[in-house]
Each structure stands twice: as structure tokens, then as C-alpha cells.
Subunit: 313 residues, 4 copies
């Protein structure tokens, strides 16, 4: 079976880096494009990180197209405390030699989906600003996309605030636009991702993965682990990519999701109603993940990436 | 040790009825007053139910004082679907023969707390309208009360909406006033109460409790169970009274709680922040309950009530 | 014709002082009670000012009952910059010798209206907290009152914010409760009151009014004038009392008024819809005032007060 | 002096039609582009109307580029009741023979401003969706534009709601984005435009303008007049174009403008604060218009258009 063609909208970001590595190493996935958005750190940094990761991980032929620098309507919130000043925690990758692609991420998304209707899977693992701009400019992308998945939101507890997850809280209006666009969003949120922790044994297996382990995986996982003050950090964004590689990893339930944009204490919350009544669901919301199989898939992808380092994969 | 003196602000309501029975039967508690509020059903019904319960359960000397008929600022929401038209599900108790006490619940609360500072525990198991009115008129009650506990709110999922629990959603402004009043609210919410289900074996033990079982407990539990479409209904309000009878039943964590009043989809949500930073907590939030011991305490209290039926206790 | 019996809920406050003087001096009005609320300055100051004004102006038999210290739900906003630290600008009145009446303003309002249904006019010239508490505790006061008038709100521009007038902005939830209480509020707002300026000639006529002019009117008007940076300050609160003394002074239009409580930039705005459609109006909104006749009535009342100073009126 | 190059973003719409006629007939203005947005009627209708107007009025060489079909975040509100089903009231213009330009309005705006920095004036006389999309995708347009003017908002009373003007209320989030984009918006709102009424004598002068009068001006003005139930309709959008033709027509005051997006009753309100304090103004807000000179300029432009009808101008 041909690998699934995916476009990754991201804001690397530690867990974005680990998600890109997973995607590149998975035989089930083919990265056809990367777009960047301001989020965990500034757009300049997320784009530079995406360029460095592209060359370090070994997919130099894939275009990287930058998009929105910040939220549509609100001041930017960053997470440099969580991701380090550079955005990749303790990892320092070589400078990139290849440039970004011309144009704006939102146009890249529209053109790529238009060119290959029904074939491209879009996954967003940062704030949803680029996706919102694309859907506003070309509403038909919701029909052209094969599947649209996000890492974002929560139906229980947030991490940016008690109510809101970072990717949604970083641009609530964009998220509201995206959930109302007329497609069924595959929403993988904190409820799922926080259970997929990089425990001690997992980090040990990362450490065994040569240059990939030494230069990227371990510095990322340990910095993240230290900062979030848990001995087993959750690698949120990787969950969305793992799901695309193997959809059986995660259980879902259909729901109607609204994004709160007006609350005093709840802006950026995904209000997930599993009681659909007469409504056609606008989301499939992840409720659990098979953690053991997630790490097998992920570490196996990382091994494949490591083998390819220096020679292409 | 002398029993704890409690005033119960309630809106019976099936689970309020089961909570009143628990309170009356518990040797650790002494009901010194009951106040009523519109909520599960209209104030007329909740007051009439409180009067009937007082005589049926056997504490005719305790004053019942009615208060607010509805939310401070919003249209009233009712839950007659959940509690039956009369508010007590399938239970039909004899008409009351004794009248309500004169005056307004909020004044009763103020006067009772003022008269016995440090001695009275106040527990609210309905919308917080009466408590808000009391605290607005006499802010010093927060110093006079021994403890203030509520059944209400959630830090994960709501039941009235995906975000909000019924008692808070029924009057968000009142709840916001109450949480900002300067005391430490003992908040027992859905996170705790939904785990205390009246399973089949529990209902069987209720059925064995003579007239109390036949006329009140079983009709309440089974109606509630049917309507909420779960084979083991949660008896929310009873959890707050059980906690007062035995504070070791529930685990708590300190938090800062805000009540959302401005959201489009989140009004009435208790936004619970366990990450206090420099803030002095305004709530102790229940996180788990010892379900087995809860039912032992509760059923033992019910047995004591049943023994007293017809003869006083 | 017997004078109209009025109860004045106020937060003196410079313009409250000038309004009380007007009310006391008008043969068409009889002050039967004064209640105080925190607002322009703290409740302690507004109450102390009301007590001093009562004795200085000469109505010592009228009870002064304090009420709410601040807004129901929000932090208190004050206007000490506008009204001076003491609340009466440059005026320094003798200390009061008589105490406040016992009880809470909201109860005083309820009892007074209950005792004389259809006979008492209630006028509020401060934040609406006391009125909201009264109406929440005893909704029937809307039927018992003869008329309920306020100085507050605007249908064009605010003064506390571009959208909101001070009295409403100081407690938006209270105002929302009051406008939804089921009566027809006589709303006299900034649209009217800002046109009734104490111009130079008016202040000259105040100066001619002996001790009243020297000790109260002129110090108030000139302090206010300086601070609000207009050479002719508007004496807002006095407009509501002048209207009660002579209802022909002000033109009105029926409207449906909502109070915004959720906006980011508009909280405390009175949203006045003159296009009623099928709605029964909840307000008569003042649209213009006969300024010349307003000052004739007001100055003539002041003259009567001055004549009575030291000897009763 | 060379005429001012302008791009008009519009939603024709009766007053848009009269504004386009004014712009085309004014020797001070040169229309270089027209973009369309959904608003008064659907995007299909506004675009079709723009195409018909282009040929009827005689500027076939100017590109017409369609943009957003509706508000970014909210359901579309239309004003077909006000503008007629077709959007031009009683006017029926010949079908257009020339097509729209390719691409999206927001890209047209970006490219046009980028190509000629400092030379192009942008005027928006419909909902601000296209402008918001342009500014989000290319924030530098705020530096490239010569001036950005809108017909929209109010600092006193709205027309869509008591608080909000139609163009802003139709897409509050877009307007909020536009006002925060970092430029100084020339805001001409209802406060100005409602005073520029097409009175009886004005309509008579329109009637004298041959085919333009008979086929466009009079049917528009009279339909509008009937529907808005005033004998002299305000031709809102034309005011913004008249201002560009002769900036001395309108008086302005600097202000800080926020757009309310969260209110229950105030969404889409432009909250205009003339009291800037330390803030650099984000808007110059029109406060009055010289109505007589406005009509002279406008009717003179219309005369010029009429002379050109059938032969180009
Ligand atoms: Ca990310
Ligand atoms: Ca209850
Ligand atoms: Ca006042
Ligand atoms: Ca228009």
C-alpha cells in the first residue's frame, strides 16, 4: 500500500520535532509538505527549526512554507519557557542550507489540496491560524482534503489554562473557524496525549538511537521532562502523527465541538459535547491511545530515521 | 463529641431528599435549619418538598425558610425532566402539616450564623442564590461560619452542559459571588459525586429499609436511575452531607476557583486552577471519595432514620 | 396637592449632594428616606456624607440607612478623583450628630414600599446594588412602587468608559437585574444630564444663596467643574430629582434596555433599543430636558433650603 | 494634480452603487480596482452587481475581484430587506459581459499595494473580511497603503443593533483585526453619514441626470428611502468616497477604537475612545460633514458620469 501523503502544519517546538521525526521514519507516511506557524516560539524560530529539522532528519526535497506569525485577533502567547529559547529544548541542530519555499502557508495548503483532491491528509500540530486562513480563502479545501487531524484541545483539563490547551488557546478565533468549516475534525487532545509519556525506559531506548538519539531525541525529551516537572514528559504532537501512521492506535467518539472565544476564564477551550442530539458531528475526538503500541511504532520510526541519517532514508 | 450543627440550603430534588435523610440519620450531624431555593424544580415545589421531608423524616422542630425563586440575572433553568414534575421522582410523601418559617432564607442564614459564630456549618446543595444574597447583605458571614461546603461544579466535565454542572449553571453570577466572598469553599463536585453510584446491591439494601426504603429511597433512586439512563445513579447531594458527617471520606486539593459568567458555551463552569502560584486558595476541591465507606455511612444513617419513622428519632 | 413621597438611594458624591438639596427644597417632594451605597466614594464616606447633609440641609427626621459597600460581582470602582477624597469636592460640612438607622438599605426599601403600596417613589442616583438586592429578595416591590427612576446610563456616549455611564458601570450585574425586574424604569441618563450644565451665571446665582451657596453649592459646583475640565459642570443626579418634582421637564421615549455584562469594552453599557417591535418596554428613557426651567426649579428649591437653614424649613 | 488612485472594497448594495458612481465621476479619483465581499447581499450578488455597475458606469478596464463570502467566524447577516433582493433596490442594470478577475480579493489587495507602495488608497465600504484576510496574510500592507478609509462603525448609535453599525456588525472579528493592524484607520461612521441625506431637492437633481438618474440614482435613492422609512435616505458609502475626493469635507478627531467581539448585546460595536492618554491613535474618526458641499461634489460627479454614459468618460 502506498504511504499516506501528509502535509504537516507545525510550530517546532520540541514535540513538533519529535512528531516530524516520527512522520519521516514511518513507512506508512510520506511527508509532502511542511508549513510553519508562530506558536511555541516565534514564526522566525519555528520556521528556522523546521528548516534545520528537514535537513537533519533527511527530507530536503520537501517544501517548507512559512505562514502566520501570530494569532488572528489576540496578542501572541508563546511557550518559550516550555520549549527553550530556541524552541527545541537542549537540541542544537546544524544551520539549514536550503531556503523556505516562496508564498504563504495558507496558499500552499490550498494549492496542494486542490491539486490532488482526496489524496492529501492535513495534520496541524500548532495553533490553527494557517488552517483558518486557508479555509476562509478557499472553503472547498474541506472537500478536497482526505482527512484533517489536529493535536489540540481537551474535553477535561487544559494545560495553558485550567480550561484550554495551548494550541487552541494560542488562537481561539482560528480554532473556532476551523471547527465550523464543514469538515469532521479528527481531534486528538490532551486527554489522549498526556497518557503517552516518555518514561525512563522509553528515554533509554531513545538514547540507543545513535546520532538521532544523541542530537535530537534525548535533548528534547529530557529538557521537556525537566521543564514540565514530570519524570515522563508527554510528546503531544507525536500522537497525531502516530495516529495517521496507524489509525487503530486511538479510540474515538463523535462529538460536536465549539471553541469558546468570549469567556473571561475559558477562552480557547474546546467545549466537547458527546451528546449529539440531531447534530451531525463536526469532530471525532480521541478518547484513549494504546500507549505501548504507540511507543513501538514511534521508536521503530525513529530507528529508521537514525539509520538514514547522513545518507538519506 | 456533640454533633456538628448544620444548615442545609437545598432544592429538593431527588438527591436533596436522599441528602436530607442522610443528614437526619447521621449521629455526627444535627440539622438546625433548612432553607430552600428554586432550582431542580420551582421554589414552590422545592419548599413543599422540604416541608414534606421534614415531617416524613422526623425533624419537625427544624425551621424551613424559603428563599430565592430563581437565578439572580438569568432566566430560570429547571431540571424537572431529571427530578420528575414534583421534584421527588416517583416518591409521593404525605402533605406537610407545618408551615414555613417567616422571613427570607438569606436573612435566616445571616441571623443563624451571627447568633452562633464559629459553630454553624453551612452546606448548599442547590443553586447558590440564597448564599450569594446572604453574603452580599452581610459579608461577615464568611467569618462567622464554621465551614461552608457545596455540592456543585466540576473540574473536568459538566452535566448541565459539557462545561458546567447544574447547581452552578443554574445561577452562575451567584456562584461567582460566593466563590469570591473571602472564605475557603469546600467544593465537592461531579468529579467526586459521579463515582458514588447507587448500584444494584445498594438499591437492594435500600429496599430492605422498611417504610423509608419503600416510600422514599427506592422510588427516588430508581426514578433517577431510569432518567439519567445509568443503572447506578449518582446521589450527588448526599456526598456533601456524608463528607460533613465524616470528613475523611473525601480527598481534597487546594485551588483557585473562578466561575465563568461571560462565555458563549461555558457559562456556569467552575474553572479550577490547582496551580495556585502566589494565590491564597479560595476553595478546597474534592478529588476522590471512598465509595464503599460512603455507602456504609449513608445506609447506616438511613437505617437510623427508618427506625425512627413514626416515633421521632 | 400633597407632595410626592420619595426614597432616595444615593452615593454622595457631589451631584448627589446637590440632588438632595433640590429634593429637600422642592415643595413637590417629600423625602421619606435615604439609603446609601458605595460608589463615588466608599460606603463609609457616602453614608457619612448623607448623615452630614441630612443635618446641614435640615431633614433630621428622615432615616438614613446604609446598604451595599460595593458591586455584586466585581471589584469596586470609585470616582474619588471626580468627587474629591471626601466625596463632596471642596465642601466641608459639620460632623453629623445623629446615627444611621438600623438594618440594611435593601430591607428598608422593601419594608417602606410594602407599607405604603402605590405611594412611594423610589429614585436611585448611585450604583444599583441596593435596588438589585431589594428586588431579588422581594420581587413584589416592582408592583408596590409608585415610580422607579434612576440617574444612570446613556444611549449615546458614556463617561466611565466610551460605552458606559458611571452608575451602571459601577455594578453592571445589579443594573441588569434591575432593568429585568418587571417594572418600567424611568431612565434619565447622560444624554439628558450632560445638557444641564451649571454655567457661570448659574454658579453666580448659587453664590447669592447665603450659607447654602457658600458652604455647599459653590464648593461643589466649582470643584466638579474644575475636575471635569468643563467650565459648566453637569449636575447629573439633580436631573432625576428635578424630573420627580416636575415631570414635564424631561421628554421621554419608550425603549427596551439591556445592560451589557459580558463585553470586553462595553461592560456596564445600557443598550437602549427604541425599536420595540412586539416588546413591552422596560424603560422610559429621557431624551431631552428643558434646561432653563430645570435651573429655575432647582435654584428656587435651593433658595427655599437656604431660607430654612438653621431654623428648619 | 494626478487623481488619487483608489481600490474600492464593496458589497453593492444601494449605497455602494451610489459610491462607485461618485468615485468614477470624480476628477480627483481614479478607480484602479474593485473587490467584492458578501454583506448587504450574498457575494454572488455583490459581485454581479459590481460587474454590472462597472460596465453601466463605464470603467470596463478596472478589474473586479471577488473575495470572502461571509463573516470569518459567525453566520452571515444580510440586509436584503434594506437593499432589495438583488441588492440595488429598484434599479435593474444590464447584465455584465465581462468576467471577474482571477484570484481572491485579499491577494489582489496585497499585490496591488505591494506593486505601488505609498500610492494606493484603499477604501472599504462593506464588511471588513477581505481587508482582515489581506492584513493577516501580509501585515506589511499597512505600510504600503497611502491611506485606508472605511465607511463603518459609530461612536453614538448603531443601525444594525442599537450599538453596532452594519458593516462592523457583519464581521466583528474582521473589524477587530483591521483596527489592530497597526495603521491609522480613517473611520467615517454613522455619526457622519446619517447627516448626508438625499432630501427631496437632492432627488430632484438626480432625476435631472438623464439615464444615470433614471436607471440608477433615482431607483436606488427612492427604494432606500422607502425602506428605511425616512423621506431623505442617508447614502452612507458615498461619504467615504466624497471624503477621498475632497478631504476637507469631513472633520476628524483622533481616537483609539476597539471592536467589541464578546458582548451579549454589543458585538460589532466600535468603542471609540477620544481620550487617548498615552496611546497612539489607531483611527481618525469623522465627526461632521459639510452636507451642502458633499452634495455639490457628489451631484457634480454624477453629472460627469451621465455625460460619459454610452461613450466612456
Ligand atoms: Ca506543536
Ligand atoms: Ca440539589
Ligand atoms: Ca450619585
Ligand atoms: Ca456597503
Amino acid at each position: 500500500m502506498a504511504p499516506k501523503k501528509i502535509v504537516i502544519d507545525c510550530d517546532p517546538g520540541i514535540d513538533d520535532a519529535l512528531a516530524l521525526a516520527l512522520a519521516h521514519g514511518s513507512p506508512a507516511l510520506e511527508i509532502v509538505g511542511v508549513t510553519t506557524v508562530g506558536g511555541n516560539v516565534s514564526l522566525d524560530r519555528t520556521t528556522d527549526n523546521a528548516l534545520r529539522l528537514r535537513e537533519f532528519l533527511g527530507f530536503p526535497e520537501v517544501p517548507v512554507t512559512p505562514g502566520a506569525a501570530g494569532a488572528m485577533l489576540r496578542g501572541t502567547i508563546e511557550a518559550a519557557r516550555v520549549h527553550g529559547t530556541g524552541g527545541l529544548g537542549g537540541a542544537v541542530l546544524p544551520e539549514a542550507t536550503l531556503p523556505v519555499a516562496p508564498g504563504h502557508a495558507s496558499d500552499y495548503l490550498i494549492e496542494t489540496l486542490r491539486a490532488d483532491p482526496g489524496e492529501i491528509t492535513l495534520v496541524a500540530i500548532g495553533p490553527l491560524t494557517n488552517i483558518a486562513l486557508a479555509v476562509l480563502k478557499e472553503p472547498r479545501i474541506v472537500d478536497w482534503v482526505r482527512e484533517f487531524a489536529i493535536l489540540g484541545g481537551t474535553y477535561t483539563r487544559g494545560n495553558r489554562t485550567p480550561a484550554a490547551e495551548f494550541n487552541i488557546a494560542a488562537d481561539p478565533e482560528a480554532a473556532a473557524i476551523v471547527f465550523r468549516a464543514g469538515w469532521t475534525v479528527t481531534q486528538i487532545g490532551l486527554d489522549v496525549s498526556t497518557t503517552a509519556q516518555a518514561t525512563g525506559p522509553v528515554v533509554e531506548r531513545m538514547r540507543a538511537l545513535g546520532r538521532l538519539g544523541a542530537d535530537l531525541l534525548v535533548p528534547c525529551a529530557t529538557f521537556y521532562g525537566m521543564v514540565t516537572a514530570s519524570d515522563g514528559p508527554a510528546i503531544h504532537d507525536a500522537c497525531a502523527l502516530a495516529y495517521l501512521a496507524d489509525p487503530t492506535l486511538i479510540e474515538f467518539e463523535s462529538a460536536w465541538v465549539e471553541v469558546e472565544t468570549a469567556g473571561r476564564f475559558t477562552s480557547g477551550m474546546t467545549v466537547v459535547d458527546f451528546d449529539l442530539g440531531d447534530r451531525v458531528p463536526n469532530a471525532r475526538v480521541g478518547t484513549s491511545i494504546d500507549v505501548a503500541r504507540f511507543w513501538e511504532l514511534t521508536l521503530s520510526a525513529y530507528e529508521r530515521v537514525n539509520q538514514g541519517l547522513g545518507s538519506g532514508i
